[in-house]
């Protein structure tokens, strides 16, 4: 995957060792007590080093994937456990759930808004702090500090920041004469959505800025120089050079941001609890509610999460194909 020279072109000793194979270091004299280790064939040694990874991946990833598929076709409740197959009841019930389509619509709306604003802001910030001066390094640090917080901590912070009792925002706005009566940040469906988007932009702008800065640094200064000599102005340079050459980084950010937003949970669970009136229930929240809050129906939740998995894989395959198509 990376640094292919090391994996594809074996060095001379590597070839020698491979030829030696099970013979155990016939080419090289065994010296000292550690010769014991060399009698183990090299491929077996590789497996031994990879074994902990393999065990973890098998128990905590492969088995759960198989289990979730089994659960999705079973009558499986939180407390009573597995009560046998009932396919395709769970899938039918999940797709007819009264909150499913509102949740899908809301999640998609949230994803589009968040991705557009977040990447726009991150790109702007990356362009501003790109060069390394003392002032810009400080600026970069200030923008990156929120990324150190957990999403749950950040949501709790904004929960207090938006609250009618402790919020400093409303008094400030009133003092400036911007508003007559206090703004309710989480009270209406729209304000709850935008307040959450603001929280997410605050928390993640630094992270995506960093990713885009990596892309910007990959653009050679010569290209800019050539454009400037040809008389291109700033806007032309941005539109014709920076944006096209930054496309791989922007694509990576888009995939990460879209996937992350589609699976949003913490921020809404803490800030809005899905309210007001279930207007901010996301798909993952619906999965959680089906399994652990109220319905306690693990089979139903498993069916919905399998549907989410399939949809996400399809979407990612599409995004990757779109990416590759453009690069060709």
């Amino acid at each position: 995957m990376a640094n292919t020279t090391h994996t594809t072109i074996p060095t001379v000793p590597e070839v020698a060792r491979r030829r030696a194979g099970r013979g155990g270091g016939a080419r090289r004299p065994v010296t000292g007590p550690s010769g014991r280790a060399r009698r183990v064939p090299r491929s077996l040694q590789g497996w031994l080093y990879a074994a902990p990874t393999a065990v973890m991946v098998l128990i905590f990833f492969v088995v759960p994937i198989l289990l979730v598929v089994q659960m999705s076709v079973s009558d499986w409740s939180l407390f009573a456990g597995n009560r046998g197959l009932n396919a395709p009841d769970n899938f039918v019930d999940a797709s007819q759930h009264r909150l499913l389509w509102p949740a899908v619509t809301f999640t998609l709306k949230y994803t589009v808004i968040t991705t557009l604003i977040l990447l726009g802001v991150a790109l702007g910030l990356a362009l501003v702090v790109q060069e390394s001066t003392r002032w810009k390094n400080g600026l970069r640090t200030a923008i990156l500090v929120p990324s150190a917080l957990g999403l749950a901590s950040a949501s709790l912070l904004f929960y207090a920041l938006y609250s009618p009792q402790s919020s400093p925002i409303n008094p400030a706005l009133a003092a400036l004469g911007v508003v007559d009566r206090p703004v309710s940040f989480l009270g209406t469906p729209d304000s709850a959505l935008w307040s959450t988007v603001f929280l997410i932009v605050w928390r993640f702008a630094g992270f995506y800025m960093l990713l885009l800065m990596v892309g910007l640094q990959g653009i050679s200064g010569d290209v800019y120089e050539a454009a400037r000599i040809d008389g291109a102005n700033r806007r032309q340079i941005f539109a014709r050079i920076t944006l096209p050459l930054l496309r791989p980084s922007i694509a990576l950010c888009t995939i990460l941001c879209v996937t992350g937003s589609l699976l949003a949970f913490d921020q809404f669970f803490i800030l809005t609890k899905g309210g007001p009136d279930n207007s901010t229930v996301t798909i993952v929240q619906l999965v959680y509610n089906m399994a652990f809050a109220g319905q306690n129906h693990l089979g139903l939740a498993a069916a919905l999460s399998v549907m989410v998995l399939v949809a996400l894989l399809a979407l990612n395959a599409l995004q990757f194909r779109g990416l590759r198509g453009r690069e060709d």
Binding site: A50, M56, V57, A160, F269, L298
Partner: protein, 278 residues
């Protein structure tokens, strides 16, 4: 002459400094506000008049006490760091330096963890941990969090080992070291930046994780800190104690911000080199 022109330049750039300075304040404001609000007087909290640590006292005596939750979070985070660093170190070595049947399949499956939604895995994991007798346990939670870290950690360690010149390891092997001794004595010092990055990411992820303990831990005395602070909000007769919430956020954020500032240079560089190679 030059002095004067730089002065004029600086003056011309004043709007720029005001604008970008405002930007920095915008990003820092919520954090500073939380810290200040947690010790300032406010109605409906434990700190009603004068400045002080009343909110932190509420936090200290909430249910099992903040000490308990801090301990839970610390245990889970340290276990996750230990598991992630040791497993990805051995795995990265295997993927970078050995050929063995199933190598590419195992590597692809490890990376595929990234493609699967958190919630899709947590529902079967809830059932699986019960079956393994690891329900409600910090060890089970740490193992699950380690699994979520493996794609990034394994990838990072693989490229770290691949970047080490092969000659370094060959020399050790010719000198009669086994591969394990070569790993410990020669390679580990060389991949230390990668190990620190992997460990830092694992710590931050485990310390901050919310949905995994929400689903996997039901015993309220075993929950880690983020969940405890979230629970704290609705506990006191349905009235939210925002002061205690602010104090909780400060306790949660402080180690992360300090770690970030300490390791910032390293974090940003490690991240950039990793991203570039990917």
């Amino acid at each position: 002459m030059t002095e004067r022109s730089t002065g004029v330049q600086a003056l011309a750039r004043t709007p720029y400094y005001v604008l970008t300075g405002g930007l920095a304040i915008l990003f820092l404001f919520p954090l500073v506000w939380a810290a200040v609000a947690s010790v300032s007087p406010q109605g409906g909290t434990a700190q009603t008049d004068g400045w002080g640590f009343g909110n932190y006292e509420t936090l200290a005596t909430f249910q099992a006490g903040i000490g308990r939750y801090l301990l839970n979070s610390t245990v889970v985070s340290l276990l996750a760091v230990l598991f992630t660093v040791s497993i990805s170190m051995l795995g990265g070595y295997a993927f970078a330096r050995f050929r063995f049947p199933g190598k590419n399949v195992l590597f692809m499956i490890t990376l595929a963890i990234l493609m699967v939604p958190y919630a899709t895995l947590l529902i079967p994991l809830y059932v699986l941990l019960n079956a393994l007798g690891l329900q409600n346990s910090l060890l089970g939670l740490a193992l699950v969090l380690t699994m979520f870290q493996l794609p990034f950690a394994t990838f990072m360690m693989r490229i770290s080992f691949e970047a080490v010149p092969r000659e370094l390891e060959e020399a050790a092997l010719v000198d009669g070291c086994g591969t394990f001794r070569a790993l410990v004595q020669v390679l580990v010092p060389a991949v230390k930046p990668g190990l620190i990055t992997v460990g830092l990411f694992a710590f931050l992820a485990a310390w901050n994780d919310f949905i995994a303990p929400l689903i996997l831990i039901s015993d309220s005395s075993k929950v880690p800190l983020p969940l405890a602070v979230a629970n704290l909000r609705g506990q006191v007769m349905g009235i939210v104690d925002y002061g205690a919430t602010e104090a909780g956020v400060v306790v949660l954020a402080l180690p992360c911000v300090v770690l970030f500032l300490l390791l910032q240079r390293h974090y940003v560089r490690g991240f950039m080199s990793g991203a570039l190679k990917g």
